[in-house]
Symmetry: C2
Subunit: 189 residues, 2 copies
Amino acid sequence: MVTEQKLDGKHVAFLFTDGVEQTELIAPLAAARAAGADTALVSLEQGPVQMFNHLDKAETIDAALAVKDTEAASFDALVLPGGVANPDALRRDPDAVRFIGGFFEDNKPVGAICHAPWTLVEADVLHGRTLTSWPSLKTDIENAGGHWVDENVHVDGGLISSRKPDDLPAFCSTILESFAQEPAHVGHA
Amino acid sequence: MVTEQKLDGKHVAFLFTDGVEQTELIAPLAAARAAGADTALVSLEQGPVQMFNHLDKAETIDAALAVKDTEAASFDALVLPGGVANPDALRRDPDAVRFIGGFFEDNKPVGAICHAPWTLVEADVLHGRTLTSWPSLKTDIENAGGHWVDENVHVDGGLISSRKPDDLPAFCSTILESFAQEPAHVGHA
């Protein structure tokens, strides 16, 4: 991918756990690094995390930070990859939910793809927001006060959302564009 | 398991797809068969379904019926096993959601364990009902109008719910007890 966005000096967190869809982590991670961002791999614990290709185990990747030991204040932006089991586990962890909520409190941009918005339901940040997701989450998002749309990428203030791996080109270019702006410019209206 | 319940002449459907938690399908299936029930394995399509032990692939099992070709009227009771990817896929299928909703319209008993209640959220049958589930679903259930409790098994009219594989002994004995009653006795109050 050729990117014109520059993320030099930006600190971008990626939060995920076992079950994360490999391509939804690796593609945005590569894009952010290529744009010059400092990236941090955050999980429930430090150490290896099992990635998946849908229902098949894929590679493992090492998380450098446990979410309980960090906070949104240490970063400029957050990426939440999907994979059905990943957000299902993250949403049960109060530290993960607090970490995610901190980006919304601080009006820092958040990219969420596929099943990731279950954690946004849990953080109770969807009231009045418009987003897309893997379509199975539509009802859960609407029941949480969000407005669901079927688009390859949707931007609502600082929340950038996409549906699935096929949307990754649009997702990656849009999060880079958002992350390159100053936080004050991308807060939720 | 020794059961004193008799399900002779009862037709019990089990609805599931790839990702179903193996023990949450096999244990209630064995219990229903041991009690004399006629059991039907129903999935999105006829043929092999990939069961899981949490994130590990387990055995496959053949579904005899596609959900689009059947209806609640053909059965006396329904069992919905868990496994995170299973109800996430079922809820996207309108025939599966319609099939499940039919049991509630007809006041026929339904047993749901673990992640299965996502399909009940989708069928919009949880308003005013009390149930338990895998704890990650608590917020989705409450946002859908249900009341969530943390119990190994909970009975609300014809809805029998449990949290996880450890609850299977209580779940299996309770669904047999409910299924053995006449439908008119187990409808939602």
